[in-house]
């Protein structure tokens, strides 16, 4: 272990040198649920703070309905935050007024979506999407072909494989790689990938996550990887934030957070990953939430209803961002 220490220190100093690409401060999104007298507010995202550095893969993980996709939508500018700021390279991007500025930001930050079969119009040839993106962002005409080829090559495809073919001629894994190639045409510095592997076969998943690693190491692209699959998150990411009912409840290096989780929720989440080993079957039983909204409406810690270590304090007060063993954790246990 001792031998590892110097390299660890080196890592710390290099991470300090890295520039922050995205800085999210106190982000909040309120949705109005119901109408008339049943109208109520739902805090889908609340007090979310995180940053993404250059050259790193940052994961936001959590169950469905924890607000992770809402965060990504606000980051991309699809949704307007109710409160809080998003900075890209120190520039506030929530209140961009001019179209040129917006386009400049969109060129730098590209996105990949969950279902590759829905991303592409079945009646349009796949390569038209690539050409459209090149045209949209003013990548010059003669140069455009080259850029497209390069983008395809970086995902392990060639233009001859793609040209003139319709989406139904590709497998899900291939389509997802094409949509990554499309995002790479503008040479972005950040990719926002919202559940990019959940619709892809388990055996092909690795080819997509390996691609992210490759992009980080060889093309200087950072990735915001949004997923509920902790096993691939552990495999691919540098830092991770665990979200639960709109809050990031634990955040830090992936090794610390996932191998030695501190928040009771992260612990339960880790416990629930099925292992591909018949000898390690689950023995304990778990309880599952009945209604999502109920947990969202809680006054104190949102996990208090299911937490095995629940205290009186938890029921009324949301814990602040506390520091414990090299990571941020929002739990009164670590006060």
């Amino acid at each position: 272990m001792r031998n590892n220490n110097p390299t660890d220190k080196e890592k710390v100093t290099t991470t300090k040198m890295q520039e922050k690409l995205i800085q999210v401060e106190n982000l909040q999104k309120v949705f109005i649920v119901g109408g008339g007298f049943a109208r109520s507010k739902l805090l889908a995202v609340d007090e979310v703070n995180f940053y993404i550095q250059e050259n790193e893969i940052f994961t936001l993980a959590g169950e469905s309905g924890c607000g992770k996709s809402t965060v990504s939508k606000m980051l991309l500018g699809f949704l307007e935050p109710s409160l809080g700021e998003v900075y890209y390279k120190g520039k506030d991007i929530v209140n961009l007024k001019k179209w040129e500025e917006k386009k400049g930001f969109m060129k730098e930050v590209q996105s990949i979506f969950q279902n590759p079969f829905e991303t592409f119009n079945p009646l349009r040839k796949v390569d038209s999407y690539l050409r459209d993106t090149a045209k949209q962002y003013g990548i010059e005409k003669n140069n455009g072909g080259q850029t497209i080829e390069e983008a395809l090559r970086s995902v392990g495809l060639t233009i001859s494989e793609v040209k003139g073919r319709y989406p139904n001629e590709f497998s899900g894994g291939q389509l997802q790689r094409i949509s990554i190639a499309r995002a790479l045409i503008t040479t972005p510095s950040l990719l926002v990938a919202d559940e990019p592997v959940s619709m892809v076969d388990a055996s092909l998943r690795m080819s997509i996550v390996n691609l992210f690693k490759d992009l980080r190491d060889n093309y200087n692209v950072s990735v915001l990887y949004i997923t509920h699959d902790l096993a691939t998150a552990y495999y691919v990411s540098d830092r991770i934030g665990i979200m639960f009912r709109g809050n990031i409840i634990e955040m830090g290096g992936v090794e610390e957070v996932l191998m030695n989780p501190k928040h009771p929720y992260t612990q339960m989440l880790k416990e629930s990953i099925p292992e591909a080993d018949p000898k390690k079957k689950w023995s304990e039983r778990i309880s599952i939430k009945e209604l999502e909204t109920e947990e969202y409406m809680r006054k104190g810690c949102k996990f208090a209803g299911r937490c095995p270590f629940v205290m009186e304090k938890c029921k009324n007060n949301m814990p602040p961002e506390l520091q414990a063993e090299n990571r941020m954790v929002r739990c009164w246990l670590y006060e």
């Binding site: 959590g62 169950e63 469905s64 309905g65 497998s171 899900g172 894994g173 291939q174 959940s198 076969d201 388990a202 055996s203 092909l204 998943r205 690795m206 080819s207 996550v209 390996n210 509920h228 699959d229 902790l230 096993a231 691939t232 552990y234 495999y235 996932l258 191998m259 339960m268 989440l269 880790k270 629930s272 990953i273 099925p274 292992e275 591909a276 080993d277 018949p278 000898k279 390690k280 079957k281 689950w282 039983r285 778990i286 599952i288 939430k289 009945e290 209604l291 999502e292």
Partner: protein
């Protein structure tokens, strides 16, 4: 101990048949499958998408509708000790087994939880009404309290589902809860065989665990057979007693789950297991090269040969058969049969 076979297929072939501009096209989704599934077991079927897993399930529960046709082979159910051949003649129309006869079997004998079934609940009626629809379609209810409400409460209690789901509309429940409700719905008549198609896909880890827990509970309680289809090997490791691996419409390996994970014989199985990421292990993982072949245009010989690292000449010409290599462990690969021959010598 004598184990009863609840379901048996013999050389089952079911193809999707298309006719386009007088050109016939066959998609061999299930090709020459002979398996036996025993009573009181959880049988897992694994494989990548597009390898015929779902079609196989549809076929064995008699839901083959054009363009899907059963081209050959037989399916046997074991109903109360009697073997009923549900396939009559060669070009088979399942509906020939008179509607009424088949309706009796369905849901009481065999019940099917299709893929994406969590969106199968009627969105505009309460969950309880859905249960009522199901029960009244199969049973005559004289006394509402005694014949419907009580068994329903008992059933939900036994499965650990809260009573208030009955009063909810589907949209008020989370995805995991909806999936568990549909499983409860499919099992309320205590069927002997439950076919579950990807019941945990699209659920997050916690909900997935709850669904697996529920399926195990049902099996413990009702002592019936569950045939579980999913591409997630980790789920199989957790729940299945025996497993079959499907590739290009065929079963390429079949064994006890422990055996499959400890001693996989087919190179494809090794791929499926080896490509899974594990917590605490950051070593570089590669996924299986290439993608599954199109079922309409299968390569000659072993369908896996274009992706197989151990490909031999014979693989390109002949199709290996599913042969028992050791007790209860079957594999369809020339590698194993060759070794076996050498051992025999």
């Amino acid at each position: 101990m004598k184990t009863l076979e609840v379901l048996k297929t013999e050389n089952l072939k079911s193809y999707y048949m298309f006719e386009m501009q007088e050109e016939k096209k066959e998609v061999k989704a299930v090709d020459d499958v002979s398996i036996k599934i025993q009573e009181d077991e959880i049988y897992g079927i694994a494989g990548e998408s597009g390898c015929g897993k779902s079609t196989f399930l549809k076929t064995i529960c008699g839901l083959a509708e054009p363009p899907l046709r059963i081209v050959g082979g037989k399916i046997y159910y074991q109903v109360k000790g009697k073997e009923i051949d549900i396939v009559k003649g060669k070009e088979i129309d399942i509906t020939k087994l008179s509607q009424e006869e088949y309706r009796k079997l369905r849901w009481e004998y065999i019940s099917y939880i299709p893929q994406g079934s969590m969106s199968a609940l009627n969105p505009i009626i309460r969950v309880k009404e859905s249960f009522k629809d199901f029960v009244t379609a199969h049973k005559k209810i004289k006394d509402k309290q005694k014949d419907f409400e009580e068994p329903l409460r008992k059933h939900l209690n036994a499965l650990g589902l809260p009573m208030r789901v009955l009063k909810s509309y589907p949209h008020q429940l989370s995805g995991g809860m909806r999936q568990r409700v549909t499983i409860a719905l499919a099992t309320i008549l205590n069927p002997r065989i439950i076919l579950a198609d990807e019941p945990t896909t699209a659920l997050d880890v916690v909900a997935q665990r709850a669904v697996i827990q529920l399926l195990k509970d049902i099996q413990n309680l009702q002592k019936n057979t569950i045939i579980l289809v999913t591409h997630d090997m980790a789920v199989h490791a957790n729940i299945a007693d025996r497993m079959g691996i499907m590739y290009a419409g065929m079963f390429v390996e079949e064994a006890k789950t422990e055996e499959i994970f400890e001693n996989p014989l087919h190179p494809y199985t090794t791929f499926l297991i080896g490509s899974l990421p594990k917590m605490g292990d950051k070593s570089y993982k590669i996924s299986a090269p290439g993608s599954p072949p199109s079922l309409a245009n299968l390569p000659q010989g072993c369908p896996f040969h274009p992706r197989c690292p151990y490909v031999m000449d014979i693989c390109k010409k002949e199709k290996p058969e599913l042969i028992e290599i050791s007790k209860g462990h079957k594999s369809a690969c020339f590698l194993n049969t060759k070794e076996r021959k050498e051992n025999a010598k």
